[in-house]
């Protein structure tokens, strides 16, 4: 039975004289490498990025480090419902919920908030399920790389690293679908 059309019948045929001499094949091969060499010398190396100076552009929907969004008034959106943690296939997210007091009205949008919100970046597989699961549009993945750390403990990112700074809002509109954009309101 043939599953694909790509299979080849193996043959043990004797090599012809031209193949036994090797030289024709060798010269063909050297011609190919020479062509590549000339092209690289004349036109520069194709598809090579000089890394520290030139960064390889990432796709627009590339999923990087997470951010916990604030709303227009600067209040944290997260209501600590735990749906992201449930949706997370790698079980990287943990959180503790707390109730906000009257004085904290302009800090948290909903009555409940996450007093602790941690993502273990070593477990995270950057699948984006948390983003999809969040009913409050609070968690998003950004185009940023996760920093390099020297010990395992540092990879557990708390709210200090996840919640966006009030003065440095992270724009994620490019990666939001129309449905998500409407849901934010």
């Amino acid at each position: 039975m043939k599953l694909t059309n790509r299979s080849k019948v193996v043959s043990n045929k004797e090599m012809t004289l031209a193949e036994k001499i090797y030289l024709p094949a060798i010269f063909t091969g050297m011609g190919i490498t020479f062509k590549h060499a000339v092209r690289t010398v004349l036109k520069g190396a194709p598809a090579v990025y000089s890394y520290p100076e030139v960064q390889k552009p990432r796709a627009e929907i590339w999923r990087g480090q997470h951010v916990l969004k604030r709303d227009e008034e600067g209040r944290e959106r997260c209501t600590a419902c735990g749906l992201c943690a449930v949706a997370c296939p790698a079980e990287a997210i943990t959180m503790t919920a707390a109730e906000r007091t009257k004085e904290e009205r302009d800090l948290y949008r909903e009555e409940k908030y996450a007093s602790v919100y941690e993502i273990n970046m070593l477990r995270c597989i950057f699948c984006g399920m948390c983003e999809e699961a969040c009913p409050k549009s609070a968690i998003y993945l950004t185009d940023r790389l996760v920093d390099v750390e020297t010990n395992r403990g540092s990879f557990i990112y708390g709210k200090d690293k996840l919640v966006e700074k009030i003065n440095e809002r992270i724009d994620i509109t490019e990666r939001q679908s129309e449905k998500q954009k409407n849901a934010v309101k």
């Binding site: 060798i26 091969g29 050297m30 190919i32 490498t33 020479f34 590549h36 060499a37 092209r39 690289t40 010398v41 190396a45 194709p46 598809a47 090579v48 000089s50």
Partner: protein, 354 residues
């Protein structure tokens, strides 16, 4: 200037030249590889990465120099030293240029003008195997030993073909003296037909098959691709140099490049007219001995460097041979070919001598 001073200066110059060319071969190797693979290659250390060999050397010195507990200490150190020593000493008999006239005396640009230069080089190349063999054995490691055995059996098999290919040149020249072999390529009509040009009567035009055999054998002798089986990573870790670290490994790798330089120089002497270039006699007569001498050095080095580049070109094009294919090629193809070539050469010389 007396002869001894000149020879000492020449020895020092040759030493530095061999090391410099070997160092920059490592740079060139990476550049050649990169441009053939559509990459850029070393470009961080200095302009075009030209300081890369220095950086590599520095790194080699600062790495931990580790000797395995069960290694035979003396031989373990001797191995890489021997490889380097042998590679460097072979340069002594090669005529690097025509002659230079300093203070009214004419000096040959050859450290040791011995009658058996060819034998000396072949002999030294054979001793070079010992460096690898000793290193592999002293490591007390099965992979190293296997790598060393492969290296030595390969080199010994290819030496036969190499020697036989050489014999046809020696028959044509009637001498084992490298200076004389070079001189014989200066004058004469090509094939007795083509009009007389001085410095173009190269052996390659008479002995293309001998050259081909010699070239392949030289690739195998210097452990270059596609015959670098002693170091194949997939089967033997890195072969004879598995246990080596720091500058000892550096010497092995560096020795290979010096070897490549010397064997290309040897090839230039034997087949590409040595230091000869078109019009060498005219320039000697009209522009003086020193101009001709300097040009001859430049010509020699140019030919050698082109040879090195071709070695690299082959390395980055061809995949390795399988070990049995390598042995088949050596024993069943190259040696019979060389013998037949020798026979034909002998017949032709006999026919034309009478």
């Amino acid at each position: 200037m007396d002869l001894l001073t000149f020879k000492l200066i020449l020895v020092l110059a040759l030493f530095l030249l061999s090391l410099t060319i070997a160092a920059y071969s490592t740079w060139a190797e990476r550049k050649v590889a990169s441009i053939m693979q559509d990459r850029i290659g070393p470009n961080r250390a200095g302009p075009f990465g030209l300081l890369q060999p220095l950086a590599d050397g520095g790194k080699f010195f600062f790495k931990e120099d580790f000797t395995p507990a069960n290694a035979e200490r003396f031989l373990f150190v001797l191995g890489p030293a021997l490889v380097m020593f042998i590679s460097l000493i072979t340069g002594a008999v090669i005529p690097w240029g025509k002659s230079l006239n300093i203070g009214g005396t004419s000096f040959d640009l050859q450290v040791a003008n011995i009658d058996v230069g060819v034998l000396f080089i072949i002999g030294m190349a054979s001793i070079g195997v010992y460096g690898i063999m000793i290193g592999g054995w002293a490591s007390n490691n099965k992979y190293s030993l296997l790598g060393a055995i492969r290296a030595s059996s390969q080199m010994i098999s290819y030496e036969l073909a190499m020697g036989l290919a050489l014999l046809s040149i020696i028959m044509m020249t009637g001498s084992l003296d490298l200076k004389q072999i070079t001189e014989s390529q200066t004058t004469g009509k090509l094939w007795g037909v083509i009009p007389w040009i001085s410095g173009m009567n190269w052996n390659i035009f008479y002995q293309p098959i001998a050259f081909l055999i010699f070239f392949v054998a030289a690739l195998a002798e210097t452990n270059r691709h596609p015959f670098d089986l002693p170091e194949c990573e997939s089967e033997l870790v890195t072969g004879y140099s598995t246990e080596y670290s720091s500058m000892k490994l550096g010497l092995y790798m560096f020795g290979e490049y010096v070897n490549m330089f010397i064997s290309n120089a040897f090839m230039v002497v034997l087949f590409f007219g040595g230091y000869n270039y078109p019009g060498i006699e005219w320039i000697t007569q009209h522009w003086g001995e020193n101009t001709a001498g300097i040009l001859s050095i430049a010509a020699f080095l140019l030919k050698t460097i082109i040879g090195i580049l071709i070695f690299m070109w082959i390395r980055w094009t061809l995949p390795r041979f399988r070990y049995d294919q390598l042995m088949h090629l050596g024993w069943k193809t190259l040696i019979p070919m060389a013998l037949v070539n020798l026979l034909i050469t002998g017949a032709v010389i006999l026919a034309f001598a009478n």
